[in-house]
């Protein structure tokens, strides 16, 4: 089915935080089976950032040096892309690390939390340093979100 990109209407004044953010992470355990984060050398990683990678390591599927990931393409250099299995345990871990979607930014956190369906297609893209995020979802999924996550539906710029 045709997917459409729908931007999340978050701004500096209205990050996606707290229960709304936690609800998304729980909701997508039924839809997505992998999640990615990136680190870039130029921005360093604090002790807290390293600790997060350590905690997530048991769930690692793949580590690669990537020129691009959902939402971002680099020129002439690469970033370290970490892909993890996504399930309720990982969702709990992510919730324990930070309570806001756009907090995922170096040096204190790995960056750009993205969620993928089992077929590899992207469900949610974030570009943390731009405070930008969007969902690539079908009309059926939009209808489902409207019923199950009205607070998220309200943030969709439809």
């Amino acid at each position: 089915m045709c997917k459409i990109d729908i931007t999340l209407s978050c701004s500096e004044a209205s990050d996606l935080c707290g229960q709304d953010y936690f609800d998304i992470l729980d909701y997508v355990t039924e839809i997505c089976d992998s999640v990615s984060l990136v680190t870039q050398k130029s921005n360093g990683l604090s002790a807290n950032g390293h600790l997060i990678l350590e905690k997530l390591h048991p769930f690692i599927n793949e580590i690669s040096d990537a020129e691009s990931w959902p939402g971002t393409k680099l020129f002439g250099h690469t970033a370290r892309l970490y892909k993890y299995a996504y399930n309720r345990d990982v969702a709990s871990l992510l919730k324990s690390v930070t309570s806001c979607l756009f907090n995922w930014i170096q040096p204190d956190y790995p960056e750009d939390l993205c969620l993928y369906r089992p077929d590899g297609s992207v469900w949610m893209t974030t570009i943390s340093h731009e405070r930008d995020g969007y969902l690539s979802i079908t009309p059926v999924e939009i209808a489902d979100i409207k019923v199950k996550l009205p607070s998220l539906h309200a943030l969709l710029l439809i």
Binding site: Q40, S42, T72, K73, L74, F75, H77, I127, H129, D132
Partner: protein, 89 residues
């Protein structure tokens, strides 16, 4: 008077964290690099990469694009808190 100014400058500098001091040193280096590129009509993505890797010590990112997004669909770099310094493709 000069000593007073120097002292005031020193006190101000002491208030900056290491990051802030690095940021301003990096900004000055970046400015010098940008001046070197400007007679040729601006930098391209390759220049941006060398600027990032060779002259800037504060947090920096890019060259990068965010396809389909209005703010970052063209190649750009970020230096510290500075947003979207455009580069020629």
């Amino acid at each position: 008077m000069r000593w007073n100014s120097l002292l005031a400058f020193g006190i101000c500098l002491a208030h900056y964290s290491t990051f802030e001091a690095d940021y301003y040193i990096g900004a000055i280096r970046l400015l010098n690099s940008a001046r070197a590129y400007s007679p040729a009509g601006g930098g391209n993505t390759s220049d941006g990469d060398s600027i990032i890797s060779g002259t800037v010590s504060p947090p920096a990112r890019g060259p990068e694009v965010h396809s389909g997004q209005p703010f970052g669909q063209f190649p750009h770099i970020h230096i510290g808190h500075v947003n979207h310094l455009p580069l020629k493709p």
